[in-house]
Point group: C2
Chain length 382, copies 2
Amino acid sequence: MNAERNEGESAPRGPKTITVPLGERSYDIVIGPGLIDEAGTRIKNVLPHARVAIVTDENVARLHLDRLRIALDSEGIDHNAIVLPAGEKTKSYGSLEQVVEAIIEGRFERGDIVLAFGGGVIGDVAGFASAIVRRGMALVQMPTSLLAQVDSSVGGKTGINSPQGKNLVGAFHQPSLVLADTALLDTLLPREFAAGYAEVVKYGLIDRPDFFEWLDENHREIFAGGTARIDAIAAACEAKAEVVARDEMEEASRALLNLGHTFGHALEKVCRYDAARLVHGEGVAIGVCLAHRFCAHLGLAPDEDARRIEIHLSAVGLPTRIQDIPGEEPKVDDLLDAIAQDKKVSRGALTFILTRGIGKAYVENGVDPQTVRGFLEQELSQ
Amino acid sequence: MNAERNEGESAPRGPKTITVPLGERSYDIVIGPGLIDEAGTRIKNVLPHARVAIVTDENVARLHLDRLRIALDSEGIDHNAIVLPAGEKTKSYGSLEQVVEAIIEGRFERGDIVLAFGGGVIGDVAGFASAIVRRGMALVQMPTSLLAQVDSSVGGKTGINSPQGKNLVGAFHQPSLVLADTALLDTLLPREFAAGYAEVVKYGLIDRPDFFEWLDENHREIFAGGTARIDAIAAACEAKAEVVARDEMEEASRALLNLGHTFGHALEKVCRYDAARLVHGEGVAIGVCLAHRFCAHLGLAPDEDARRIEIHLSAVGLPTRIQDIPGEEPKVDDLLDAIAQDKKVSRGALTFILTRGIGKAYVENGVDPQTVRGFLEQELSQ
Ligand SMILES: NC(=O)c1ccc[n+]([C@@H]2O[C@H](COP(=O)([O-])OP(=O)(O)OC[C@H]3O[C@@H](n4cnc5c(N)ncnc54)[C@H](O)[C@@H]3O)[C@@H](O)[C@H]2O)c1
Ligand SMILES: NC(=O)c1ccc[n+]([C@@H]2O[C@H](COP(=O)([O-])OP(=O)(O)OC[C@H]3O[C@@H](n4cnc5c(N)ncnc54)[C@H](O)[C@@H]3O)[C@@H](O)[C@H]2O)c1
Ligand SMILES: [Zn+2]
Ligand SMILES: [Zn+2]
């Protein structure tokens, strides 16, 4: 975080721009309130002659699609919209096919743009479609959820879920531009805002202990909106851009971004992606707590750090324990099955992101499933 | 072609190796009889610890799968086989999903191999699956049809068909190794061998007039088998490797490989991919004839070259005119619709590979659909 965080909330500022440095495939993330109205101009600057296939979900379409259309119309950009049902179940083969066929039907060409306008679900499925229609079209991400603004819209991971597990099918496909209009977050349900916040905290836990401290002090301001929120989003994007630039294809260090996700994905899977019970960011919140408690259990990290994280996440209304999930309690066997099928499995042994404490995460390839079983049994017996 | 073409047919020779030079993603194409028995060793040399998901079709499985399994077993390589129905209809969303789910079910990991063992259909669908499972696994191509050995297994284009057109959905995903066992071609139906031969001739027509001359003189030997066949396959792979190295992602000159394909794909589509009427290579045969006659019609190329090509292709039993397709005659409107939806369309105007004569193909982005209509009407009225 830089000095800007201390500015008054009402001080007018231009949008912040962060560049993801990937050589020929470098692109900007632009962050600020009201950017939706500049979408036409900003897209035209990057891809002057392209037509635009907007992909969005029913919630975002109802609230914000008209304004986006007006912004594109004002620059004479020809566009179509494809509206999908909201929610994780949209990350499926069926929706992917539907989006791909609609794009082809609209006669979009290789140089045209797929514009992902929504949360992480839309970003992932529309991004994947843009990677595979005609073996690759241009992609612009306009993330509308906090989670998508701080995480999923940046870095080029796209994909859908398999019935066997999350994100098991997909492509690396970088966007040409990311436009994060922070004012759109005002219509987000508080529960979804909190879910996205779990991914913000994650960056602090991985390797930015000062950022975690700052979040701990400023979370009320961030939830209230204003410049602290924008600063938090920009800091998160900077953290993500740095990780992605170092290891675009997740051959090594990018895996750190999965902190909390092995547990989190397993929880999502056993809850059958039922948003009434658990959304992705909530799974991450419980997952980072489990990861820290697991490492405390192994004697790798201080108990106290796990406690601090729980207190912080509880304060913003996030779940921190498996038992916080409403409905039937997940079974250890089902969780272990899901963990073994998660994509962070390497040659039989389990790969986990472990930690020595806040800001000290690392990749461990040799985790014994029996140790995980023992830990989960203990967790669920409490 | 080099001096080797004059060697006696029975002279024993080791396999030929051609390297596709793509930096970090460079790989070898190994060509020769009996390579299937060396598959285990050769795969192990390139990817030492990988497990193998074989994808094949019912015909190839019946004829050759046992031998492949033995070769992998002999090196202690763990493997599964996924067997699909034979034919173009297998390049569908449904088969793709089936292959992807079977690979995940088999707990294959990112470093493991998808082994495409079959013709171009299997290479395309299995290659695409390997591109998207866990956002990219390793791929080995073992092409078993002539068409796949000289064209589809090399260069990294993978994909499936959309109901709206051929190859509209896919990825660029280079293999780590291509093993072309030329002895497997002995079980190929003569009609399929001829179809693959159309793609061999294509390389001569694009920019290798000497190769076309050599084919014209040696086609009997090539169809009979032996060293002339191996030489023709190697020469075709060299031509393709050169084009791919120059323009991997088809931003420009790689499009030349589509000579004859805009017409050919349209014909395949209006025949509904019914192999009883037309297979891909036959579409290419008619397509290159149409492309040359179209250019003669426009006064760009000598009539005589078009005639020579027709005579050559007819001599090996390939169709050269739309009217050679059995069944109901295609309608000009349907062909034009299919052409407009083909992937070689850029910003409204039609992109065609045109030619100034044998060995003088070039990319033309501004072809007027009305000119094409006039030409096709004339073709069909003859
Ligand atoms: N690709 C990546 O790198 C990456 C990283 C993290 C997460 N993800 C994926 O992202 C997904 C989760 O993203 P998400 O939490 O954004 O889910 P989401 O897309 O389902 O959005 C959450 C809910 O908020 C609604 N919504 C979005 N924007 C809104 C707005 N401005 N106003 C009102 N409602 C709005 C949506 O309609 C939805 O109901 C998961 O599938 C996860 O796997 C991907
Ligand atoms: N990816 C590319 O760059 C590229 C290039 C050219 C063509 N293609 C695609 O390739 C496909 C055509 O390939 P194809 O002609 O090989 O079709 P194919 O895979 O359908 O094979 C043709 C027939 O031959 C059979 N067969 C294959 N090997 C055999 C063997 N050794 N013995 C007996 N039978 C055998 C198959 O079962 C099938 O019935 C088309 O879909 C085309 O679009 C792709
Ligand atoms: Zn996440
Ligand atoms: Zn072809």
